[in-house]
């Protein structure tokens, strides 16, 4: 199967983070990443104002 953009992303990020990548793991990693990015897309396309504050928990 030819490499696509997601394969390139996986290779690049794994190299940047020094994560091991066994070729046998790649189909499952890619499938999981596809699902996560689909989830992310539904969040990303929701319109929010520039002033919308994230809900991370931090108290100084």
């Amino acid at each position: 199967m030819p490499k696509d953009d997601l394969d390139e992303l996986i290779d690049a990020v794994a190299a940047a983070l020094a994560l091991p990548l066994d070729p046998a793991w790649l189909p499952a990693i890619k499938a999981n990443l596809e699902t996560t990015l689909k989830m992310a897309q539904t969040v990303e396309e929701f319109p929010l104002s520039d002033e919308a504050e994230p809900a991370c928990v931090f108290r100084a």
């Binding site: 066994d22 990693i29 990443l33 929010l48 994230p54």
Partner: protein
């Protein structure tokens, strides 16, 4: 009068111990015997702290003999998911890797608080690896098994907690809930579970999964026991940076106030999709018992679930990066591959999910101006078979592991308190979520108690066959 200690509630056990009709030593020995008998099948406990428990029970009995006042959970045996620190044990969190950690030097604070109230820790409980799980299966320790049908899942990730309480090994257990890991096993095992408001119960000295979503909480077979445990575990703790500074707000004395006067609505829209007939039947029973026909829609619940999924995948990946680098072959491969995928997600998307989280929280808070309680299914179906990979929701074939928490994720995403109540359908039980506004656990527990009093929410007794009969204790007073 003989007592079947397998069936006796935590509250009754403690009352019997306090008045001297039963010794703490007897309750603990009975629990240890049940664990010895049933655990080879249920696989709920991963460590049994028998010596510690016996020592503790003798101390309680000695205190009573001296005339000391005993706590509200005197002599009540309990277990904790194995991500809680227990002095002398490595906190494995369902993993192989963490077994190499040094033993914990101090108990998790909720254990300390339960034991200060007289409860007795008898061991630690099986769970999905690093809590990234809804099935209760574990590749290292084997799956926890559902007491109502041992070929089926307990649900996860607090699977051993669900199995131990439903299987009558202990009347009380603790677990954790990041996206549904208390409510899913409560549903599939047919018991009560409480996920309190985010920040209500301290998480110090427990192994995390997703810090911004992690909660700890209790499982029990009655609403009263759930409230009793919850009451003694509340209170600030500076060792958990998100633990509330609110003083304890005990609820046990409020349960009798019933659901009368509460404005209750059924969650519609997203929460009506994907339901199997058993989830529909359970919702109908609860709605009828409470006389509820009002409906309410949580805005953008599907997107909330997606955002929770995204935050979990990425925060989980960040937590485990070093372990993924150093010991990738020691993970459950399914967990490892999900975590590595989580590390690949651009951070801008995660920030957007946190922004959406606040927007969604504000919209849902507005709903609570008009209602006090929202009802929703806890799981789409009763317990799937162990090893089952897929099920069909509204004609779509979807992975079981990721989708058992379909209805729980949009609720924990914004930290709302929820009681999962068991509805005993004819073959297998299923749970319903009683959801309240932040810090209103009292209302959710009142409704749970009312449903229990009406005979609608009941933790059904499993038929564990000959083993059950052989070891059903009758301890005379």
């Amino acid at each position: 009068m003989p007592h079947d200690l397998a069936e006796v509630s935590a509250a009754t056990t403690a009352a019997l111990v306090r008045c001297g009709d039963l010794s703490a030593a007897a309750t603990v020995e009975a629990a240890l015997l049940r664990i010895e008998s049933h655990n080879p099948v249920l696989n709920a406990f991963t460590d049994v702290t028998a010596e510690r428990a016996r020592h503790r029970a003798l101390a309680i009995d000695a205190a009573r003999a001296r005339g000391d006042a005993l706590g509200p959970l005197a002599g009540v045996p309990f277990g904790v998911k194995n991500l809680f620190d227990v002095q002398g044990l490595s906190t494995r969190a369902g993993s192989k890797i963490n077994r190499d950690h040094p033993a914990a030097t101090r108990d998790q604070p909720l254990i300390e608080r339960l034991e200060a109230a007289g409860a007795v820790l008898v061991g630690t409980l099986n769970m999905g690896e690093y809590a990234y799980d809804f099935t209760g299966e574990n590749i290292h320790d084997g799956p926890s098994r559902n007491p109502h049908d041992t070929s089926r899942m307990t649900g996860g990730s607090s699977g051993g907690s669900g199995g131990a309480v439903a299987g009558r090994l202990v009347p009380l257990a603790l677990g954790s809930d990041t996206n549904g890991s208390i409510r899913v096993p409560s549903s599939l095992c047919g018991i009560f579970g409480l996920k309190s408001t985010y920040g209500r119960l301290t998480r110090a000295r427990s192994f995390p999964f997703v810090a911004s979503l992690d909660h700890l909480g209790p499982f029990a077979r009655t609403a009263s026991d759930l409230a009793l445990a919850y009451d003694v575990m509340q209170g600030p703790d500076t060792d958990d940076p998100v633990c509330t500074e609110r003083p304890a707000e005990p609820v046990s004395g409020e349960l009798h106030r019933s659901a009368d006067g509460l404005r209750i609505a059924l969650a519609t829209g997203y929460f009506r999709t994907g339901q199997f007939p058993e989830a529909q039947a359970a919702m109908a029973r609860v709605a009828t018992a409470l006389g509820v026909d009002r409906e309410i829609e949580l805005p953008e619940a599907a997107r909330a679930r997606a955002a929770a999924y995204l935050i979990s995948a990425t925060e989980g990946a960040a937590l485990h990066l070093d372990r993924l680098r150093g010991r990738p072959d020691d993970f459950d491969p399914a967990v490892r591959d999900r975590l590595i995928a989580g590390a690949m997600v651009p951070s801008a998307l995660v920030v957007k999910a946190h922004k959406f989280r606040r927007w969604y929280r504000d919209r849902v808070r507005e709903l609570f101006r008009d209602v006090d309680i929202i009802l929703a299914p806890a799981t789409p179906c009763t317990a799937p078979s162990l090893g089952q990979q897929f099920f069909e929701l509204d004609g779509r074939r979807l992975p079981v592991r990721a989708n058992l928490g379909l209805y729980t994720q949009p609720i924990s995403f914004i930290g709302l308190p929820v009681v999962a109540v068991p509805i005993p359908l004819s073959r297998l039980p299923i749970g319903v979520q009683i959801i309240a506004a932040p810090w209103r656990e009292d209302l959710a527990l009142r409704v749970a108690y009312a449903l229990e009093q009406a005979g609608v929410a009941v933790a059904p007794k499993p038929n564990l066959g000959a083993v059950d009969e052989r070891h059903a204790e009758s301890v005379g007073s």
